[in-house]
Every structure is written in structure tokens, then in C-alpha cells.
Amino acid sequence: MSRPKVAFFDFTSCEGCQLTVLDALQTHPELLDAVEIVQFREAMSEKGEDYLIAFVEGSLARPADEERLRGIREKAGILVALGSCAHIGGVNAIRNRQPLEKVRKHVYGEKWEWFDAYEARPASAAVKVDFFIPGCPIDRSEFLEVVTALLLGRQPKIRDYPLCVECKLKENVCLYDKGKSCLGPIIRAGCGAICPTYGDGCEGCRGLITNPNINAAEDVLKEHGLSVKEIMAQMDMFGTYQMMEMEGVGHD
């Protein structure tokens, strides 16, 4: 079987997801026998333009990004959003809560117009995304699972149930039992509940499950003493774009 060609692209991001891919190569060097990497700017100079699978990291942060992404979409048979930024806008979208001009002026002062920018958004805001791998950063084994599924011609199965499931299986003491808070009940599992396992509440990097009971979750947070501002800050760390969509606030 010939190895399918894959390419990696990055938009606005910390490139931590691509680093996780490099880490996956440490533990699974056989990945290089399974696929042919034709573009990976962060790690190689070669640039192949013929690819079947495009992994796209990062949010769109300015209009010019969309054009580039559309170009990638046209060439790719399968487009996979890699990580929180590309999947749900990620931390980049935090700034969307403030007026764009204010943000730009805050950053670049009078020269704010020198640097183009618009509200940060996920890849799916501009093109059709076939699959996504959630997380900030992505989970290494989930990445390998997705690649394996794509090679097998199987739909990658990204979990669509709350993190609490995995957290319970890890037998963690629930953070709410320790007087802390956590977004686990409404956030997609798949990371092995790594944050609660390391003593910190889930921050929601993998995005909301399909049917979250947000009202009930907010009540839980309130009952555990969080102010409305603090609840907003929690929900908005990775979820600003998703939350604003649910609130029906526009992005253009």
C-alpha cells in the first residue's frame, strides 16, 4: 500500500500541537512508515503541495488567513483541525469579548491599523472541516488513533461525553470535593482527565460536548461559591467562540 501524503499547516497558535505530533514520532516512529509527511514547516524545509490529509493547527486571526486556508482545503482530500485553536477558536478567541478596535489599539497603539486582525475563529468558520482533534495541546494517543482510523478508512471516534467519565475511571478525588471547581461535566472527554488528575480543574480545552447541560453546570459552579465573573472567565478560557455562538453573538 502506498503511504498517504500528509501535510501540517499552522495558523495563529503556540505550535504546541505540532510539537505533540513530533512527540508522537518519538514513541511511534512507525508513523513514518505509515504516512509520508510532505510539509511540516516547523520541522522540515521541504514543501510538497500534493497531499491527501491536511492537519491544520491554529485559529484564523485575520482575513488573509482565510484565503490561505481555502487554498489548503482545495488541495486536501481530508482536512483535520488540530487542537483547540483550530477546533473551537481556543484561547485566541478570548479577545473576541472585547471590541476589536479596542484590542488592536490596546496592543499597537496609534499604529493599530498597521496590523490586520479580526475576531479569532476556528477553521470551520471558513472551510469545511472533516474531522477535528480537540485539546490544548492535542492528546498524543488520540492523534495516533485518528491517524490509524483514517488509514483504515474508519471515522475517527472523538469522544462526545463529559470528562467526568474519564475522571471517575481514573478514580480521582473530584475537585468539587476539594473545594475547587471544574468544567468536567460539560467538556468532551478524551484527554484522560489529565487536569483533574494533576489537581487542577478542567479548563475546557476540548470544547463542549454536543448536548451540555450548561444551566445545571453553572448552578453547580454557583453553589460552589464562584461569582458570575469567575464563571464567565472559566467558561471563556477556551470556550469564548463556542459560548458566543450559543449566546447568538455574531462574529463578523
Binding site: C14, S45, V107
Partner: protein
């Protein structure tokens, strides 16, 4: 005589997006600049209104490679603002974590991003076939450092357990012992790394400049300390703006910085130049083998300085684990914080150089102002100055070679472009 046009669009094997533009007409350097085309990130704006506890988690997302550096700097900034003194155990664990990140970042840079240039290939992937042992060694060191970071923070990229006042999770002693053993075994890999890099033919190029780093009286500084420059200046952290003097330039979403001269350099070479005496003896030995001697003005040798720091970090990690084991790991809760209106500056010398965070926190614990000055941003002016100095020296070479040299020069800085595109509280010069 010559016309040279170098236009490297989207520099590869660096973190983030940058372009190199060189234009020489009739032997005269018309244009020579590094364009930062990464889209602006606005992290400082993002921190506004966020609880200070979230700041380290948000700012670690500035960079996937030096996430521990950003997180630690952020924690130190909040702690210094709020007047929190972490325990000795916390200090030791943070140091250990930091060594892990130094090793991780430096091995990635030297082996996977820089070395391919010397082997004449476009990436580390073909090396897997031709130099299997080299690649396997790199992967082994990378895995070790990644596991070291994960043992403390839960994962390397975007650590979890680090919080204001301490940790939300502690490694246990048997994990520390197992890690110690692996670090001891890694000494051989360090020896072989030094042996490999000393055979590389570093480009001969020198340009005098100013080197800026943290410094401490009692140790080779990575976390906290004072700001030291090779031109003989010493500042407290709060005075960081006197050093950074950032200005906006039109061709870059990142800001340029200058202190005593038109530019200065930060990073491994700056640290080694400024704090050479405090390196572990093993690291000094490595420096000697690599021909690195302070004060070294060859920017290409920044990669050699990184190897020296890797050796230092392996040795210091072992020593730190010994100290932790001798004390025994105590189950500690993070130090309690009394929230008040306050401001503070924190700094770490992260893999790519000195990093500053500066926060204002309101009495409700929400951040009301933030500034982050990132190492790569401080290096831009110096990179361009180097480019301007280097081009005339190599004009007689064929264009592809000039291009490669320019790329290698920029890569030597290990630029983290994505993290340098940030907001600066601007006093405009540009």
C-alpha cells in the same frame, strides 16, 4: 558587481512565521530585514479581566516549546505582586521542571532544527535513515526531558500542576528516583552530543553586541534574579523597561528592543557569556570542547551554548533531585493568597532568553493590566544587525548559499516567532 535577492517566505524549522528579505544591488545592500508575518496574538489584551490564577494557563499558550517558562514567569509575577513566598520545596521543583524544559527545547533546536543544515538535509527525517544513532539519541533525550516535565507538571506542553503559591500535584519519591536514574544514564548521551557538535563546522562570523540575561549571586540564573548586561549594567527586575525600550516597526508584528547599543542579544549565548563561572564544571568542560569561551561574539554559537546548557541542566537536575530526596517530598498545599490591589514584575531566563511579565491585579483578583516582553522580540534588532553585518562578508558566494547562511543565522537564534508577536505597552519610537 553582484545582485543578490533573497526572499525566504515562511522560514522553516523555526517556531512561527517569518520572512527573510535581502536585496543587494550592484554590491550595495539596499534592504536587509526579517519580516514577522505571524498574525498578532494580543495576549496582553486577553489577560484583561481574567483571574490571576488563570494567567499562567493562558500565557503558557503563548508558546508550546517554552510553556513551562511562560507559566513559571507568570506565577512569579503574580507571586511577586501579591507578596507570596513559595516554599523551598516549590522552588526546587520549579527549578527541576525548568531544567527539563531547557533540555527539551535545546535538544529540539540543536538536533532537529539546526543539525539538518550541517548534514545538508531539509529535516531530521532523512537523518533517521543515514544517521540513525544520532536521531535515536535526540529522541531519547527529548523523551527524557518531556517525561521530566510531565512528572512535575502533568505534561510538558502547557503544564497543569503549577499554580500560584506551589503545586496542585506533587511527584512521589519513587518517581523522582526513577527519573534520577534516567538522568544519570543520559550523561553518556550528553558526552556523545558534545562529541558530535564539536565536529560541526560553525560559520566564522563575529559582531560585537551587548548580551542581556538574568543573573544571581549563588547560581546560574534561570528563575528570578537581576538583569545583567555584558556592557556592565545591572538592574532590578522592576526596571526592565530601561533595558527593553521596545518600539514598533512597520514590517513586523513583533516589537524591536534596544538598550545601550542599537540592539542586544538574549538567550543561551547571552547567559553563557554573562554567567559562565556559575556553570556546572561538566558544562564548562563541554564549552571548552566546543570552543566556546566568554565573551563569544559569534551568534551561530548560540547553538553551542545550548549544548552547554543541556549538560548543565542534566547535572543540575540530578543534584536537585538529590536535594529533594534528602528533604523528602512533603504533601503541601499551595501558599494561601491574600488578594489585594497590586502590581508586579516577574522574570525567567527561558530557553530563548530573558522573559518579563508585568501585571496589575485588582482587589477582586482580576487582572487589570499586563505586559509581556518575549525574548525573540528582544532579539529581532540584533538579528537584523547580524544580517547586515554578515551579507557583505559572503556576497561572493552563490545565491543559494547566501540564502542558506541567512536562514542558518536566523535559526541559530532559535526564534520563537509566534510568541514574540505580542502587545507592548508602547512608547513610540518608530
Amino acid at each position: 558587481m553582484t545582485n543578490v535577492s533573497v526572499n525566504v517566505h515562511h522560514l522553516t524549522r523555526v517556531e512561527g512565521h517569518g520572512n527573510i528579505i535581502v536585496d543587494v544591488r550592484n554590491g550595495e545592500l539596499k534592504e536587509c530585514r526579517l519580516e514577522i508575518v505571524e498574525s498578532p496574538r494580543f495576549f496582553e489584551a486577553m489577560l484583561l479581566g481574567k483571574p490571576y490564577q488563570q494567567a499562567s494557563h493562558i500565557t503558557s499558550r503563548i508558546c508550546g516549546i517554552c510553556a513551562v517558562g511562560h507559566a513559571t514567569t507568570s506565577l512569579r509575577t503574580s507571586e511577586r505582586a501579591l507578596g507570596v513566598e513559595p516554599s523551598q520545596q516549590t522552588v526546587l521543583l520549579r527549578k527541576l521542571n525548568f531544567f527539563g524544559e531547557i533540555i527539551d527545547s535545546h535538544v529540539l533546536h540543536t538536533y532537529m532544527l539546526v543539525a539538518p543544515d550541517f548534514f545538508g538535509v531539509g529535516s531530521v527525517i532523512p537523518l533517521a535513515k543515514t544517521h540513525t544513532d544520532v536521531v535515536l539519541r535526540a529522541l531519547r533525550i527529548k523523551k527524557l526531558s518531556g517525561d521530566l516535565c510531565a512528572m512535575i507538571g502533568g505534561r510538558h506542553t502547557h503544564p497543569i500542576a503549577l499554580c500560584v503559591g506551589g503545586f496542585t500535584h506533587l511527584p512521589n519519591e519513587s518517581e523522582l528516583r526513577a527519573m534520577r536514574k534516567r538522568l544519570v544514564d543520559a550523561r553518556r548521551d550528553m558526552d556523545e552530543t558534545v562529541a558530535l557538535f564539536k565536529t560541526l563546522d560553525w560559520p566564522q562570523f563575529e559582531r560585537e553586541t551587548e548580551y542581556v540575561s538574568l543573573t544571581k549571586s549563588d547560581e546560574y540564573a534561570f528563575i528570578d534574579g537581576q538583569i545583567k548586561t555584558s556592557d556592565g549594567f545591572l538592574y532590578d527586575l522592576d526596571a526592565y523597561r530601561q533595558v527593553t525600550n521596545e518600539k514598533i516597526v512597520p514590517h513586523s508584528t513583533a516589537k524591536h528592543a534596544s538598550h545601550n547599543r542599537e540592539s542586544y542579544m538574549v538567550g543561551a549565548l547571552a547567559r553563557v557569556n554573562n554567567n559562565f563561572d556559575q556553570l556546572h564544571p561538566q558544562a564548562k568542560d563541554a564549552a571548552a570542547q566546543l570552543g566556546l569561551e566568554p565573551i563569544c561574539y559569534n551568534s551561530f554559537l548560540n547553538s553551542a551554548a545550548q549544548i552547554v546548557e543541556m549538560v548543565h541542566s542534566v547535572e543540575e537536575s540530578i543534584r536537585t533531585i538529590d536535594e529533594l530526596l534528602a528533604r523528602g517530598i512533603k504533601p503541601e498545599e499551595p501558599v494561601e493568597v491574600e488578594v489585594k490591589e497590586c502590581t508586579g514584575v516577574g522574570s525567567c531566563d527561558v530557553p530563548r532568553g530573558i522573559l518579563f511579565h508585568d501585571y496589575e491585579i485588582g482587589d477582586d483578583g482580576l487582572i487589570t493590566g499586563a505586559n509581556c516582553v518575549i525574548p525573540t522580540g528582544q532579539n529581532y534588532a540584533n538579528m537584523e544587525a547580524d544580517m547586515r553585518a554578515l551579507v557583505p562578508q559572503i556576497l561572493d558566494r552563490p545565491e543559494p548559499e547566501i540564502t542558506l547562511m541567512m536562514e542558518m543565522l536566523i535559526r541559530a537564534y532559535d526564534p520563537c516567532i509566534s510568541c514574540s508577536t505580542h502587545f507592548l505597552e508602547v512608547e513610540f519610537v518608530g
